[in-house]
């Protein structure tokens, strides 16, 4: 993306919202929207590039960037001035997030909610799978659990609110949908999304130097696979293979 990261012409100006004396929120809007999220990701890149002394880490979310900082090294006023200065010059064109093709088995025990989603949306199970896997999703943000990516936008025909009764246990690798979002549970956890399938690949591991596969700004496509392929890939993963983005050889 090109153009000033903070305030492209015609866009809502960025709001600076202090979150105490150790974090600053730079907010670009209040809804889930690609254009808003692109500004968040662009500002995130700009902050990293600027390597501002005292900035500890950043957390890009749907509409805002949270900048965590050390108040003994930089104050809010100086930090805001530094960020504001990005607005008057074009942000460096974003190299673009990585692209991922994620294998998903949409069958049998791996797809506990597929039939219900089909029934509630008036589609056949095959149509649900075709719609869900036929879209390239944008990673808006990572949160909730290590490596949990909030991705969108799910085709409107598949849009359903969260389950009335969230599950206490969702298996690791489960691929779910809720409203316009889709995501993969990286670890076994409670969860309220509708589970359409399961991926055999590992999405996060705290032993990795970068503990999650995806980052905000990446693009993810789901590729349907059958059960034998799921089992084969799972064995490769268990043997330590790490999934690679499109265009990079698997290690």
């Amino acid at each position: 993306m090109t153009g000033p990261s903070s305030n492209p012409p015609g866009a809502t100006p960025a709001r600076y919202l202090p979150s105490g004396d150790t974090a600053l929120v730079v907010e670009f809007g209040d809804r889930i929207d690609r254009a808003i999220n692109d500004r968040v990701v662009a500002l995130d890149d700009a902050v990293h590039e600027a390597a501002i002394d005292g900035v500890v880490e950043t957390v890009p979310t749907y509409c805002s960037l949270m900048i965590h900082y050390d108040p003994l090294r930089i104050g809010a006023a100086e930090l805001i001035a530094r960020i504001d200065a990005f607005g008057s010059r074009p942000a460096k064109a974003r190299a673009g997030g990585r692209a991922w093709r994620v294998p998903v088995c949409y069958r049998g025990r791996h797809a506990p909610d597929l039939a219900e989603v089909a029934a509630r949306t008036g589609l056949s199970p095959d149509e649900v799978v075709a719609l869900h896997s036929g879209t390239a999703y944008h990673v808006y943000m990572i949160g909730f659990l290590p490596g949990f990516a909030y991705m969108g936008d799910v085709p409107e025909r598949l849009s359903l609110p969260r389950r009335d009764n969230p599950r206490t246990t969702v298996p690791a690798g489960s691929v779910g949908i809720a409203l316009a979002m889709t995501g993969i549970y990286p670890l076994e956890s409670p969860g309220g999304w509708h589970l359409l399938g399961k991926t055999p690949i590992r999405l996060s591991d705290l032993a990795w130097p970068q503990p999650a596969l995806f980052s905000a700004g990446d693009t993810v496509e789901f590729v349907p696979i059958d059960e034998p392929k799921f089992d084969r890939l799972r064995r490769d993963q268990d043997a330590g293979q790490r999934w690679a983005p499109v265009g990079e050889d698997a290690r």
Partner: protein, 345 residues
């Protein structure tokens, strides 16, 4: 056999904590770390460690250990509770003062009466694998520290040193206890505009009580409920240490060390960083009020606090071996120390 502390009792929730694992929040990994990092620094300084070394964080009720090393130097900080020696000639050793124990000695930290958390540091630290650069335990997530969990009987915590170093014990005058009636200072926002004016007024004037449901993730408060302006859901955004989030029931939760990285409830205010260690010390049932300050004041309070902590740590005094014969030391040992290594203590 390598040097270790053997856990005889785990206590209510005793876990290894350091200053946390910043740097991975963008991929959803919580920071964790000591609730009261000032007391962590004091405990570490007393045994000659770096201020942020991993130590045992003890919540509410203390654990019990046996020394399985030639000797080990330990120090307790952040509480008026003592190190209670067990067995023959049971004595106590005060907090804020290092002490060296021999193989086979066992000790416990009793119930913390004055605080919710205290820190027990060992000289040289624990020999444990780091997770993303940190020894902090995230108990809910099951990672970091000792097997990602609170201590249990039978655990062996490996020590980095085989024996205590040859040097004098040290003491630090404990910092004055904070005035419990002093309000907790907050900066309003980032989502104060999601609340009615009345709600903000109530938040800043209301009497809250720390709920028993509080944990390392957050301090849950009982008290006047706060009304949102247009719903309790926001598009998920980042969470700072001390964020005061208000879910649908209107009762504020102050998010602490084990907070998640992002959340979808509006945050009416954020506790200033200088008041967070004190907040971690609050016990269930204690009263709590909030007062608003601006960011610039929060920053200057934090700088002053940091200066005060540095002076306190720099004022660590060696206790010469001979001082163990002083009236004070005898008093500390209840005058009846049968097992005490008088030459060192």
């Amino acid at each position: 056999m390598t040097a270790a502390l053997k856990v005889l009792r785990g206590g209510l929730c005793t876990s290894i904590q350091d200053r946390g694992r910043p740097g991975y929040q963008a991929v959803g990994v919580p920071v964790s770390g000591a609730l009261d990092w000032m007391s962590l620094a004091i405990a570490n300084r007393l045994v000659g460690n770096a201020d942020g070394e991993g130590a045992l964080e003890i919540l509410i009720a203390g654990p019990e250990f046996e020394v399985d090393a030639d000797s080990v130097r330990i120090a307790l900080a952040g509480t008026e509770a003592s190190i209670e020696m067990l067995g023959e000639g049971a004595t106590t050793r005060p907090a804020h003062r290092s002490v060296t124990l021999r193989r086979g000695q066992s000790f416990r930290i009793g119930r913390l009466g004055d605080t919710a958390c205290a820190y027990l540091a060992v000289e040289g630290g624990f020999d444990l694998p780091r997770c993303l650069g940190s020894l902090s335990t995230h108990v809910r997530g099951g990672f970091g520290g000792f097997e990602g969990r609170a201590l249990r009987p039978g655990d062996r915590l490996k020590l980095a040193r085989e024996a205590a170093g040859e040097r004098d014990e040290a003491e630090i005058a404990p910092p004055p206890s904070p005035d419990p009636s002093a309000p907790v200072r907050v900066v309003l926002g980032p989502q104060d505009d999601h609340f009615t004016e009345k709600a903000i007024e109530i938040f800043l004037s209301g009497d809250y009580v720390v709920s028993a449901k509080s944990d390392r993730m957050g301090l849950r408060l009982d008290g006047p409920a706060l009304k949102h302006r247009g719903g309790a859901d926001i598009v998920s955004d980042g969470i700072a240490p001390g964020s005061v989030q208000v879910p649908g029931n209107g009762l504020p939760i102050v998010l602490l060390a084990d907070r998640g990285t992002t959340g979808g409830y509006p945050k009416i205010a954020t506790v200033i960083s200088a008041d967070i260690p004190m907040l971690g010390r609050r016990r269930a049932g204690q009263a709590l009020r909030f007062a608003a300050v601006d960011v610039a004041s929060a920053e200057s309070v934090r700088r002053a606090q940091d200066q005060a902590l540095r002076s306190l740590l720099a004022a660590a005094r060696p206790i010469p071996a001979v001082a163990s014969l002083s009236v004070r030391a005898l008093y500390d040992q209840n005058l009846i120390s049968g097992m005490v290594d008088a030459g060192r203590d």
